[in-house]
């Protein structure tokens, strides 16, 4: 915004605009030139900043970046440029209509503050109120009541089991029953917690969709997806961990059925290799990238339309 606010209005104020346009330069070419020139100017600090940051990272031996990481970093860089150009075009559009440079700074500034400081807070508030989920208390009580119910059943079986043992009778039937109920309890509790997590995801994606109303929201959604620090990547990790645990339980069950010695062995299955494929990241980022391009295009068209019709 600081770069762009006086692009047109400044030249208009100083009278240079008339001079430039009196040559055989179209207004479209003038605007495109302004945009590209300032984009290139911004490219320098952005590139230098990122290179310094990367150099710091690379001097640390615990950080190793592979080919896919470099592609992600390049994509991030591209997204940063796209994001910057949205604001450049918006600044250009405002600068085209405004008479004074100072006023052409105030409007985009207000938009910027709304986009950066207010809009993210509002999307979360809106998500909490328009897409409400159960309160933490309700959720906690629900899980607790399920656990208590099963515990009651387990205690009953345990009592019979203890009684049988005291009497010297065969208790194996109840041991099996106890284990079955215990496993069922685990599954039901897990299912309930999963339902809660799904509610969380739904609410968070609602907030995510609302955040797409501003280019800043689109930018953070897209970059999070590209570098796999978004909710999608988190869910992927959790799912892999869950599958890992299920495999472990299955293996133990099999070993328990095989023999007593086998059952005692504690061997974990192979650790899950959680992968975040680049293609999938790009797919998740695609809507936000498209929106950023749309924002840029709309702002540029607006700038062109306003500049073409205004007096110099």
């Amino acid at each position: 915004l600081n770069y762009k606010y006086d692009a047109v209005s400044g030249e208009r104020e100083s009278g240079l605009l008339k001079l430039v346009l009196s040559n055989s330069i179209s207004r479209g070419a003038f605007l495109t030139g302004k945009l590209l020139g300032r984009l290139l100017c911004l490219l320098i600090p952005l590139t230098v900043g990122m290179i310094i940051s990367l150099l710091f990272l690379l001097t640390n031996p615990s950080i190793q970046l592979d080919g896919a990481d470099w592609i992600r970093i390049s994509l991030f860089f591209g997204l940063a440029l796209l994001y910057v150009s949205v604001f450049l075009c918006a600044g250009l559009a405002v600068s085209a209509v405004m008479r004074s440079s100072a006023s052409s700074l105030i409007i985009p500034l207000t938009m910027w503050i709304l986009a950066i400081a207010i809009h993210p807070v509002l999307s979360v508030i809106a998500a909490r109120n328009l897409h409400p989920i159960d309160s933490p208390g309700t959720m906690g009580r629900k899980v607790q009541s399920i656990e208590e119910e099963y515990q009651k059943r387990l205690n009953e079986i345990w009592a019979i089991q203890t009684q049988l043992r005291k009497e010297g009778k065969d208790e194996i039937e109840y041991v099996i029953q106890y284990n079955a109920v215990n496993m069922e309890k685990g599954k039901v509790v897990d299912k309930t917690k999963q339902d809660f997590l799904n509610q969380f995801t739904a609410q968070a994606s609602f907030a995510g969709n609302l955040s797409r109303l501003s280019p800043a929201g689109c930018f953070s959604n897209a970059t999070e997806a590209i570098v796999s620090t978004d909710i999608g990547a988190y869910d992927r990790f959790m799912e892999a961990s869950r599958q890992f645990w299920y495999r472990h339980v299955e293996q133990r069950k099999k070993r328990a059925e095989a023999s007593r010695e086998e059952a005692r062995k504690i061997e974990l299955p192979e650790e899950p290799e959680v992968e975040y494929p680049l293609a999938e990241s790009i797919q998740r980022a695609a809507p936000d990238i498209a929106l950023l391009i749309l924002f840029t295009g709309l702002c540029f068209i607006a700038a062109y339309a306003l500049f073409a019709r205004c007096e110099v």
């Binding site: 400044g10 100072a102 207000t110 503050i113 508030i125 109120n129």
Partner: protein, 465 residues
């Protein structure tokens, strides 16, 4: 003369679009503040009890919990109360444990700051003051009206004062209208807020806000007298506001995190685990002493085992204490570093005045520590001795393969009358105490004001118009 300039400026401001836009943004944010506060407050009251009622303390001799009452003034300064622990557990081993966040909170939503008055004033009002006054001098200078005005029998100090007062009055008027809208919503939707006791802190907070916005007005006047064009004034002011309001308070936390000498989460857990492993190692010691005949009978075995266990718990407690004092050091350092920004000084003094945020958190902790001593004396008087740590039942296998069952060790619950249970003195400082607490930060704000206004005055007097 000042009155004439003031009137002219007021009329000029009221007719501009920027005041209208600002008014709309401000009013919408205050309305949102009202609605969101009522929702959060009602759910807090449901979970943690009515703030007007007596402090609730769990009557038990095995440990107790203290609850931070919902603060009806949190719509003013919330101070991240929604992520701070609301309960402190007083344990018999002399530690105080903070409540953890519920696992059923939606952690997938971005953790954003609540829209309280302090947030609105810190960000939107700071910017508004800049937008309102950046061209107060430079604009008139460019248009040539400044010369015209100064050619009358009016001093430059009067011109400056008139412009300053006009901007201040407009800003405060918008603030008061917004604040009243928010209060109206809160009162319509919830009867308990705010009560008589909250009026004085509320008025003090509005006065504090006046100091805060006034400093940005003075700063804008300074930049406006210093620069040739309004656009340059606006640009430089924007940079200053972004650094002072958005960057500096956040950077302070990051720098303190790096500089303060505090053990990390990971380090603490690793050390605690190492102590646990050491415990298993020293448990062997007992067996060796049994083997060598130093320890003979059953009770002695159990006692020796208990001693080792207590040593482990003590060591882990120490590690936890170091961790917590490290966190405190970090927080203190961050607060000190943040004082470079008037925004942080405003936040801190606001928290002191309405008794919320980090300031309240510290007061609550100190009160809890004081209460712990009283509570432990009470437990001792009721059940005779304090059993600091629960220990699970353990089977100790002796060299001759006999097994000794060390029973569970558990604090005793007193069954008799506990009507004399000590009450918790809830940290509710009086107004003078709150003011005293906020004094340093308020002084800083005033200093900013004086420096900026004097700077503006000196530059305006010496500059060519």
């Amino acid at each position: 003369v000042v009155w004439i300039i003031l009137r002219k400026e007021l009329i000029y401001h009221i007719t501009t679009a920027r005041v209208l836009i600002f008014f709309i943004i401000s009013a919408s944010l205050f309305v949102i503040n009202g609605f969101t506060f009522v929702g959060a407050y009602k759910s807090d009251v449901e979970t943690y009890g009515n703030p007007r009622a007596e402090s609730r303390v769990g009557r038990s001799t095995t440990g107790t919990a203290l609850t931070a009452k919902p603060n009806p003034l949190e719509f003013c300064v919330e101070g991240n109360a929604h992520i701070r622990p609301r309960m402190l557990y007083i344990r018999l081993d002399g530690t105080i444990q903070s409540q953890r966040r519920s696992q059923y909170e939606n952690f997938k939503l971005p953790d954003v700051r609540r829209i309280d008055w302090s947030f609105i004033i810190q960000t939107i009002y700071a910017l508004f003051c800049v937008v309102l006054t950046f061209d107060a001098i430079s604009g008139e200078r460019a248009r040539g009206t400044l010369r015209l005005m100064a050619s009358n029998s009016v001093s430059r100090a009067q011109i400056l004062l008139g412009k300053y007062l006009a901007a201040l009055i407009i800003t405060l008027a918008v603030l008061l209208i917004g604040g009243l809208m928010s209060l109206a919503i809160i009162n319509l939707l919830s009867v308990a807020v705010p009560a008589k006791a909250d009026v004085v802190p509320l008025i003090l907070f509005v006065l504090l806000s006046m100091f805060y916005v006034s400093l940005f007005i003075s700063m804008s006047l300074l930049a406006s007298s210093l620069t040739r064009t309004s656009a340059t004034a606006l640009l430089s002011l924007l940079l200053i506001v972004i650094v002072l309001v958005f960057v500096a308070p956040n950077m302070a936390g990051i720098i303190a995190g790096k500089l303060a000498d505090a053990p990390s989460d990971y380090e603490t857990r690793a050390r605690s685990d190492a102590v646990g492993a050491e415990y298993i190692e020293t448990a062997r010691e007992v067996r060796e002493r049994i083997q060598s005949g130093v320890i003979k009978d059953r009770d002695e075995v159990i006692k020796a085992n208990r001693d080792i266990y207590l040593r482990m718990v003590e060591a882990q407690k120490q590690i936890q204490k170091e961790y917590e004092s490290g966190l405190m050091r970090k927080q203190k350092m961050a607060e000190t570093l943040a004082l470079i920004s008037p925004s942080a000084a405003f936040q801190a003094s606001g928290e002191s005045l309405v008794n919320s945020g980090a300031v309240f958190q510290r007061r609550f902790r100190i009160a809890a520590e004081r209460y712990q001593g009283i509570y432990l004396d009470y437990v001792e008087s009721k059940v005779g001795e304090i059993i600091p740590t629960w220990q699970p039942p353990i089977n100790i296998r002796l060299p001759d393969k006999t097994i000794i069952n060390a029973p569970e060790v558990r604090a005793k619950q007193y069954d008799g009358d506990m009507s004399d249970f000590p009450l918790f003195a809830y940290p509710n400082p009086s107004i003078p105490e709150r003011l005293q607490n906020a004094l340093f930060n308020i002084a800083l704000l005033i200093l900013w004001n004086v420096v900026c206004f004097l700077g503006a005055h000196i530059i305006f007097i010496r500059r060519d118009i």
